[in-house]
């Protein structure tokens, strides 16, 4: 009833191909944006910003980047964490070499570095496919993390081997570093995420997106109809790594505040992959749903025992957490292998049909 499409007539092809052919979708999106831009900042606490809202957005962005590569272009990658690291370290070097550089520009530029590295490690995809390629991307993962550790120039020869984000101002407001307030950082991340999402939605709907999908579905057939596989795969690697790199820069500059190489190790890659898969491969919305589940769930589980008054050691809670997340991944894969985005698609379908069964 809420989603009744009756009466919404399309009188041109243009209208039929619009981003929101159903008016309620646009209303829903407006509602979500209202929630994100107005309601959350008014109500959320410092803890909620730092533990839930900002990480959800950043992880969703990283998953979006991975999803373009894996979900749209069909190239499985296990090196996301390292590409995030490239973005973070590039941004760190840019801000320390050019302290006057606007932070937005620094983050936008750092994406290009990770895009370049992504293309370099994407070159084997022209020869190698499937799981062989997945393992090949692990080469990037391990090599880059090793490089972050050994190449002292990257962390300005600091004794700890870690990078520390300085205070960075933009238009008189501190946006990054120890003095920044959570709400400013939240708005900053939210704006970047919205911008990139808008870009991603359009690029995946357009010509390049269709090329990627055809390569994903069957690359030889795609080649036979005249698609340049090299361009298609490498552009997917470039765009994906660019977004992942930006998310890495945000990850360190607007959330963690400091980072050491271990942070970008394989667990980070896997977490992003979980988000993309549980959310739904080949969907933009899924990344957000997946990020909410994977990021927020552990926070809720750790808070639960103390809230209920059950005394459990914090180490046990952590182990339980790992166990529950593992079990949940399996359960979600069994219940809906196409991810949370498919869940929403089914619900939406039902709402449009309601009250009729089909």
């Amino acid at each position: 009833m809420l989603y009744r499409t009756a009466g919404q007539f399309k009188t041109s092809y243009h209208a039929d191909h619009a981003l929101f052919p159903v008016r309620q979708d646009a209303i829903l999106l407006g509602f979500i944006l209202l929630l994100a831009f107005v309601v959350f900042p008014l109500t959320a606490s410092e803890f909620t910003f730092r533990a839930m809202l900002i990480p959800v957005l950043i992880y969703a962005l990283a998953a979006l980047g991975l999803n373009i590569l894996t979900g749209y272009a069909g190239q499985l990658s296990l090196g996301t964490g390292a590409f995030m690291g490239v973005g973070a370290y590039a941004c760190y070097k840019l801000t320390s070499i050019f302290p006057e550089l606007n932070i937005v520009l620094a983050i936008a530029l750092s994406g290009f570095f990770s895009a370049a590295v992504g293309v370099a490690f994407g070159l084997p995809s022209l020869r190698i496919k499937g799981f062989y390629l997945a393992i090949a991307t692990l080469a990037a993962q391990f090599f880059l993390v090793w490089l972050f550790e050994k190449w002292a120039w990257l962390y300005n020869y600091s004794a700890s081997g870690a990078i520390q984000v300085p205070n960075i101002d933009m238009f008189g407001v501190t946006v990054a570093g120890p003095n920044a307030t959570a709400i400013v950082q939240y708005y900053f991340v939210l704006c970047v995420v919205c911008l990139v999402t808008w870009f991603a939605i359009n690029i995946t709907r357009g010509r390049i997106g269709r090329i990627w999908k055809s390569v994903r579905d069957m690359d030889i057939a795609a080649e036979l109809v005249g698609i340049n596989l090299m361009k298609a795969k490498l552009s997917a690697f470039a765009v994906s790594s660019y977004i992942v790199g930006i998310s890495g820069a945000l990850f360190v500059f607007l959330w963690r505040g400091a980072a050491e190489p271990v942070l970008f190790d394989i667990p980070l890659s896997f977490r992003v992959l979980f988000i993309a898969i549980i959310g739904g491969l080949g969907s933009i919305l899924g990344n957000y749903l997946g990020a909410i589940l994977i990021v927020a769930l552990p926070v809720v589980i750790s808070a639960l025992p103390s809230a209920l008054g059950i005394p459990i050691a914090s180490a046990t809670v952590e182990h339980l957490n790992t166990m529950i997340v593992g079990a949940l991944i399996i359960v979600f894969l069994i219940v809906e292998p196409h991810g949370l985005a498919r869940f929403w698609a089914i619900i939406r379908e039902k709402l449009i049909m309601w009250p009729f069964p089909h």
Binding site: A136, L224, F274, G326, I329
Partner: protein, 319 residues
């Protein structure tokens, strides 16, 4: 010139300048190569029979070793603890088949791969709750594994070979030989290979998918226990062992995902080469710790010339 010299000449001069040290390095590399090969073998078996890329093999190694040590701590005699651990691995295999694999039959490869990562996370949490996260000592003595070392003096130098390493190598050879015999000669083994060739054809001649899957996961569990004992005797039993699963991945790339022979040769090659690279190139020139990535980069370079690995089945693509 100096740079080229330090890359191309000096390492080899070092090698032949101290042949006894080279021998020691080669032996160490060979032993870790045997372990990589064992883990890769677990992967290959499961991949061959079900096209599942089993990421959980590493945690199965840890889990098997922890169960063995944990049972012994509870007062079970060591020689009884081994069959009991095998029983636990069997139950694990049945549980994985029932709960995880059966509902996911016919899903895309990546979904099954994710499911095995889910299994990994679950077992990590489960294992830490039951056995605790701290490092444990493998019950080497109780299992009657010799612990002394043989010492040689070739080329006027000194080489020491630990007896437990030697036991590991011999044990691995016996295990692999047994496995090859089983796969090639027994009825069950043939059923496994038939399933690997074509699921539907195998089903249509009456091979039970679920029985074979349980069997294959159980064999992977047995290999995991063997790996766990050997590696645990060298480095102790802890969840840090899980990372050796990553070491098996380049072995798989190099050898080919479907090839038992490839897993063995690839494992040995990578074990030896990464040790040589680390000692003669990594430490003097690159600041050490190159073992984390060398195997991957090496395998990647080989793969550029042979996309299906050295011994993998030829990839035939049709539209």
């Amino acid at each position: 010139m100096d740079f080229l010299n330090s890359i191309l000449v000096k390492p080899f001069a070092d090698m032949f300048g101290a042949p006894d040290f080279l021998l020691q390095v080669l032996w160490e590399g060979l032993v870790s190569g045997v372990l990589y090969a064992l883990i890769a073998l677990g992967f290959v078996l499961i991949y061959k029979s079900s096209r599942i890329f089993n990421f959980a093999q590493g945690i199965m190694v840890v889990f098997a070793a922890l169960t063995l040590v944990g049972l012994h701590e509870k007062g079970v005699p060591a020689l009884l603890a081994v069959p009991l651990t095998l029983l636990v691995m069997f139950i694990l295999a049945v549980a994985i088949e029932r709960v995880v694999l059966r509902p996911l039959v016919n899903q895309p490869d990546i979904i099954l791969f994710m499911a095995t990562i889910g299994i990994t996370l679950f077992l990590v949490g489960f294992g830490e709750i039951i056995f605790g996260g701290e490092n444990k000592v493998m019950i080497t003595q109780e299992l009657h594994i010799p612990t002394g070392s043989f010492e040689f003096e070739p080329f006027g130098g000194f080489v020491s070979i630990e007896q437990k390493d030697l036991t590991a190598v011999v044990g691995a050879i016996v295990l692999v030989a047994g496995l090859l015999l089983f796969l090639n000669k027994s009825k069950m083994g043939r059923a496994i290979r038939a399933l690997g060739d074509d699921h539907q054809a195998a089903l249509s001649v009456g091979i039970s998918l679920s029985t074979i899957w349980v069997l294959v996961w159980f064999i992977a569990g047995v290999i995991a226990l063997a790996t766990g004992i050997v590696w645990g005797a060298r480095a102790g039993v802890s969840f840090a062992l899980e990372v050796i699963a990553f070491k098996a991945l380049p072995v798989l790339m190099l050898g080919g995902l479907e090839s038992v022979l490839g897993a063995i040769i690839g494992g040995l090659a990578i074990g030896v080469l990464e040790k040589l690279f680390e000692i003669y190139w990594g430490q003097p020139l690159l600041g050490g710790n190159t073992e984390t990535w060398f195997a991957f980069v090496f395998a990647l370079l080989v793969l550029l010339f042979r996309p299906q690995g050295l011994f993998g089945e030829k990839i035939i693509e049709r539209v």
